[in-house]
Structures are given as structure tokens and as C-alpha cells.
Symmetry: C2
Subunit: 222 residues, 2 copies
DNA sequence: CGGGAAGAAATTATCGATAATTCATGGCCA
DNA sequence: TGGCCATGAATTATCGATAATTTCTTCCCG
């Protein structure tokens, strides 16, 4: 019962499990057995249950009534769905954030873009990419919208990690820079248009070819 | 322990509580005490806890770590936020549903519009209105998107009931008919544009004037 | 008479255990 | 030999109880 700072137990468990699901450590369809998880965290199954519900609300797990909880499966259809929802919602958020964007925020976003370009691995790139997107939409001050966007980002990241397990090669993110340039010029509509295209380019190509074969080029943009 | 057909206990409890919150029977800020709810439903507090979490995921309740759960408060800001999210997501859904809309679906939607125009009270109107919106977006076949829209509808309905408690007067919904006309003509973009305006007109005016005084005109559109 | 602290009541969060359901294995019969 | 039913093991869902935290009340002091 070593309690951390002030994070509740269910939140802690759900966060750790979410990381495992997103990173691919827990594969789609894998069963989440409450007793096992409870034993691992040194807790009972009641907090674990709540953690499972939290994951289900995020779309990372699915719960069949008397059959237990599984890691949510995802196919290209859902990836596209998430991408389109992200495009719609992030554009909305950016439009509202536009008037409240300060020089400091844009500088920080540019820093995040640079960090992304210099990332040694996918994980670092994803973190920087998420930071960029979060920075430019947060000033909209719409909590419900931001929470929804966060959940969609989790789903996107999950897909990202599932495809690029190894062989990572960083490249400069021209879209991010174009968005920043437009925002610096006060052209929010232009920035929003670029952002929409940028986000929707997720999953524009099939995920895998034959088993073990060469993986097709696969456009992921954050 | 009279169990119904096959609906799980937490789902049942959360549904009933959601209805009460939406209808205004449970006022914003009201505490939800798990033992009381448990006693009312003849259950323990474990399923009640899960029901609370479900409500929180829907945005109908807020949970402070060791302080319990309260009915979520909502102000005009959040109403606008929900309206804009609805506009963005329903437009997205309609664009994808467009190609799959059949004559039968549009006829049913027109029937729902008529039912709304002839509604004797707000509750009936809201039900018909929700049916209309659901009908025209469901064929998009994007489960995550539809679930998000449903949650937003719940928030909208909650706001609707909170303002129009009594003195209800039905009026013909021209927007719905215009949307249907555009869809029948195959002009999905036109329909989407009308839908966006239609939804965003929620909460365009202040909610209440002085206590008990004349209530200001208050544009709610579904 | 007002503010603050200490105690008591209430409520939340977690645990261990029980009941009910599902999944798997093995045996039986056609 | 193949399919089906029954029994057993595993797992989920719920319950009752305990521990910890918060909040309300009341009393004391300035």
C-alpha cells in the first residue's frame, strides 16, 4: 500500500495499462484478467475494475458483460475514423485557440517541432508531436474538447507504435512549420486547413503486406 | 435482486441516473451518495461506483478524489462548447453517411421531424429531435464517432430541459426540412452546412432573466 | 460575539469472501 | 470415430465489512 503523491489507485492502474496498450506491449485482443492485474499492483480487484472502465471510456479496451475485458482491436477503418475525428476537433480547437496564442506558446511549439525532428526513436517523436498539437490547441480553454482530443491522440499513438516497431528514421516535419508560420502571420484559417490535411494523412496506406514481408510505406503524421 | 433481461446492473443504474440528471430532476452540484443510491436500487456500492464512473465519462458527473461525486455543473460556456463539438462531429458524420442514405431513412427522418412539430411537451420534442439527428448520421458506420455524438446529445438535452421547464410551444422545424430537402437532392455539402448552423444556434442567448421574471427568448435547435 | 480547533458522525475507498456464470476438458453415446 | 452433454476449473460480479479521510457540529478562547 505504498501510496504515491495523490494519484488515486484506479487512475494509476489505468494509466500504466494505457501505456502498455498504446506501446503495443499488450496486444489487441489480449485478455485483461482482473485478478492478475490486481496481484501485480498489490491491490484488490475493485480498483482494477474501475481502471478497466476508464480504459473502456478511452476506447482502449472493450468489456463484454460476463466475459471480461480485452484490449480493443483496431483496424484501418477505426484508424481513419480517429484521424477524421481528430481533424474535425483539432481544427475547431485551433480556431478558438487562435486569438489566445502568444509568442511564447508558438516558440514552445517550434521547440517541440525541433525536438520531434531530432528524435532518436518513435516514442520520443510521438511525445514531441503530441506536445506540439497540445500546445497550439490548449488555449481554446474548452476542457471537454481537449479531453476528447487527448483520447483520440492516445488511439493515434497506439496505431503509430503498432506499425513502426523498429527501424525509425526521423524527418523534418514541414506541416508543423507551415502551421506555425501561418499562426505567426495571424492566418488561423490557413493554419487550420493545413492542420486538417496534416492529421487526416494518418493511415492513408495499408498497414502490413504479407506476413513478415516488406512493410509498405505508411504515412503517419501527427 | 430482481434482475431484468440482460442489462448489467451498473449500466441500469447509470442509465436511470443519467435520465434524472438530464431531465433536471437532479440539479447541478447535487451530491450523489453511493450508499443512498445503492440502497435505492437494492444493490451494493460497487456497481454504484461503476455507474458513477460511467456518468463521469459521459460528462454528466464530476468526481473529486476523496470527496465523492457530484452532478456536473454547466454554464453557457460549456453549452456553447458542446454545441460546437456537435456541429463539427455531426457534420463529419453526415458527410460520411451521405452516400449510404436511403429513401427509407430519409422518410423516417421526415416522420421524426413531423413528430417533433406536433410534440405536446419538451420531452417528446427532444426525443423526436434526437431521433432525427441520429437517423441521418447513423449510416456513417463509425461507432466511436456516433458514441461521442450521443454523449453530446445528452449534454444538449440536459441544457434544453433546464431552461424550458414549463410553457412549451411547438413550432415547425424549418432547418430539419431544409436538411432533408438537400439530402434528397444529393447535396450533402449543403445539408452539412445547414446542419452546422442549425446545431450551433444552441445557447445563443442568456438563459434566464431575473428570478421568476419573463424568460428571454432562447434559441434552442437540435 | 466571532473565529478556530478538536471531536464525532458520515462517507468514501479498499479489501476478503461468496455466488453466479462462462470456458474447457473429458466421457459417453450414436 | 465424430459429435454432444455433463462435470469441473477458472473468472467475473456482487456483497458485507474494515480502514481512512472528509465534513459537520460543538465547544472554547480571544
Amino acid at each position: 500500500m505504498a501510496s504515491e503523491k495523490s494519484e488515486t489507485l484506479p487512475v494509476r492502474i489505468s494509466r500504466v495499462l494505457a501505456e502498455r496498450i498504446i506501446s503495443g506491449q499488450l496486444e489487441p485482443g489480449a485478455r485483461l484478467r482482473q485478478d492478475h492485474v490486481a496481484a501485480e499492483f498489490g491491490a484488490s480487484h475493485v480498483p482494477v475494475r474501475e481502471a478497466f472502465q476508464r480504459l473502456e471510456a478511452q476506447g482502449l479496451a472493450v468489456s463484454e458483460p460476463r466475459r471480461g475485458v480485452r484490449v480493443a482491436a483496431f483496424d484501418l477503418r477505426e484508424v481513419r475514423e480517429v484521424a477524421e475525428m481528430r481533424a474535425a476537433l483539432e481544427v475547431l480547437a485551433l480556431r478558438h485557440a487562435g486569438p489566445h496564442l502568444t509568442r511564447a506558446i508558438l516558440d514552445e511549439a517550434e521547440e517541440a517541432t525541433r525536438a520531434g525532428d531530432n528524435s532518436p526513436d518513435v516514442r520520443a517523436w510521438e511525445e514531441a508531436n503530441r506536445r506540439f498539437h497540445r500546445l497550439i490547441v490548449t488555449p481554446c480553454a474548452m476542457p471537454r474538447l481537449l479531453a476528447a482530443i487527448d483520447d483520440l491522440h492516445a488511439a493515434s499513438a497506439r496505431f503509430l507504435f503498432s506499425s513502426w516497431r523498429s527501424d525509425w528514421e526521423a524527418r523534418t516535419d514541414h506541416d508543423h512549420r507551415a502551421i506555425l508560420a501561418a499562426l505567426r502571420a495571424g492566418q488561423v484559417d490557413e493554419a487550420a486547413a493545413i492542420l486538417a490535411r496534416h492529421v487526416q494523412w494518418i493511415g492513408s496506406k495499408p498497414v502490413r503486406t504479407a506476413a513478415g514481408g516488406t512493410r509498405d510505406v505508411f504515412a503517419i503524421q501527427g
